[in-house]
């Protein structure tokens, strides 16, 4: 307690006029000075903030916002361009495919026409040869058949000559053969 009183005394010595402390916030004689300096300070603060600091701060934020928006627009434009290029590529690809298909079709048609023609020519040739061969065969056959009579006549003459020891008259042999053929 004694110590507390000494401290209080020191405070009084230093504080001077404020020795008998009431409740400072309710000391009305300080109000004028506080209001005066609050008004000065706040007006200066408001002016500096609204004229200098806030425009700068808002400017930074706004600048960033427009920059980001611009970048996004650019990105969107580039995306559109890329999509357009993609569409063009698809289109040219489809065209090329179509061209390739028609080309293939034409080639196939040409080739099949050619091979058809060749096949037909070959067939005709073969038929021709077949017909020729048949004609030859029938000619040979007729020739062979025409020789049969002479062979039969000679054979019959030879058989008779061996059996009888004397050659028969050709007319008789001829007549006998004709008799058999009939």
């Amino acid at each position: 307690m004694a110590q507390a009183q000494t401290t209080n005394a020191t405070t009084e010595a230093h504080g001077g006029a404020h020795a008998d402390v009431g409740f400072p916030p309710f000391e009305t004689e300080t109000y004028g000075g506080q209001l005066l300096w609050l008004a000065i300070t706040f007006v200066v603060l408001y002016t500096l903030l609204s004229r200098l600091v806030l425009p700068r701060l808002s400017g930074i934020i706004e600048n960033r916002r427009t920059m980001i928006a611009g970048d996004l627009d650019d990105a969107a434009a580039m995306k559109t361009r890329a999509e357009e290029a993609g569409a063009a590529y698809e289109k040219s690809l489809a065209e090329a495919k179509g061209r390739a298909q028609t080309l293939a079709q034409e080639t196939r048609a040409k080739l099949s026409a050619e091979s058809d023609a060749k096949r037909k020519a070959l067939e005709a040739d073969l038929n021709q040869r077949l017909a020729d061969a048949e004609a030859t065969i029938s000619g040979k056959k007729a020739e062979a058949m025409s020789h049969v009579d002479a062979i039969a006549r000679d054979t019959a003459s030879a058989i008779i000559e061996r059996l009888t020891g004397k050659a028969p008259a050709p007319q008789k042999v001829e007549a006998a053969l004709n008799q058999i053929k009939a």
């Binding site: 401290t7 405070t11 504080g15 404020h18 008004a39 903030l49 600091v53």
Partner: protein, 242 residues
């Protein structure tokens, strides 16, 4: 030991122009705000550094609070609301430094700030809406016989706004600093008492540390509450119909 309310004393520095420790800390707060924000934004970087991020967060925080309460047209009050928020916040936080004077622990300062807000509301309300501004006191859809009572209640509620706005901030700052001082005083008293009581001295010290943390929260929170209420009152000036 010094009284817990000794810290609130107004001490003259230059008596001729009424310049006191309070004035010095007001100017200090303003200097910290303007200097800090100018320093933070000196590079005007697109990708902000730490200091610039804090400045932008403060800007966006106040702007969002204002727009949420009043809509886009409330942005014309942005410099005022931002100045109020920054001034109260900085004054509160500066007061947390041991030995520093807390500007907002004086009712006349908080009352002046509250009157600035209410004055702005009333002047802007009448200039913008004329007598239609008085519709603020006449809610729509109230039965005729009830209307006089409602108008009286609304009027009282409106008039009590500057009082509640200023008292809340003042009382929070005052009580917090007194509590801190009292608990810090206990530490000294217990140490001085000697013997078994000395061993107990760390307990109020822990309490003082915990209170310090709480007071930092209160310092920021009361600045925010003051700002939110300012925005809500400004909304009445902008849209008295509601």
């Amino acid at each position: 030991m010094a009284s817990p309310i000794e810290q609130f004393q107004i001490k003259p520095i230059i008596p001729v122009i009424n310049f006191t420790n309070s004035s010095a800390f007001m100017i200090g707060a303003a200097a910290v705000i303007v200097g800090g924000l100018l320093y933070a934004t000196r590079k005007r970087a697109v990708v902000p550094g730490r200091a610039q991020s804090v400045a932008e967060v403060l800007h966006d925080f106040v702007a969002n609070t204002l727009v949420d309460a009043t809509g886009k047209e409330g942005m014309k009050f942005f410099p005022l609301v931002f100045s109020l928020f920054m001034f109260v916040l900085t004054a509160n936080l500066l007061g947390m430094i041991p030995g520093f004077f807390t500007v907002t622990s004086h009712i006349i300062v908080t009352f002046a700030l509250a009157m600035l807000v209410i004055g702005t509301v009333v002047v802007y309300g009448f200039v913008k809406h004329g007598t239609h501004f008085l519709g603020l006191f006449v809610p729509s859809g109230v039965p005729g016989w009830l209307l006089p009572f409602i108008v009286v209640i609304e009027l009282i509620s409106f008039l009590s706004r500057p009082i509640s706005l200023s008292l809340r901030l003042f009382a929070n700052m005052l009580a917090g600093h007194i509590a801190l001082k009292v608990f810090a005083g206990f530490v000294v008293s217990l140490l001085a008492a000697g013997g078994a009581l000395t061993i107990l001295a760390p307990l109020p010290l822990l309490m003082a540390v915990a209170l310090m943390a709480l007071e930092f929260l209160v310092a920021a929170l009361q600045a925010y509450v003051f700002t939110v209420l300012t925005c809500i009152y400004l909304n009445d000036a902008l849209h008295p119909g509601h």
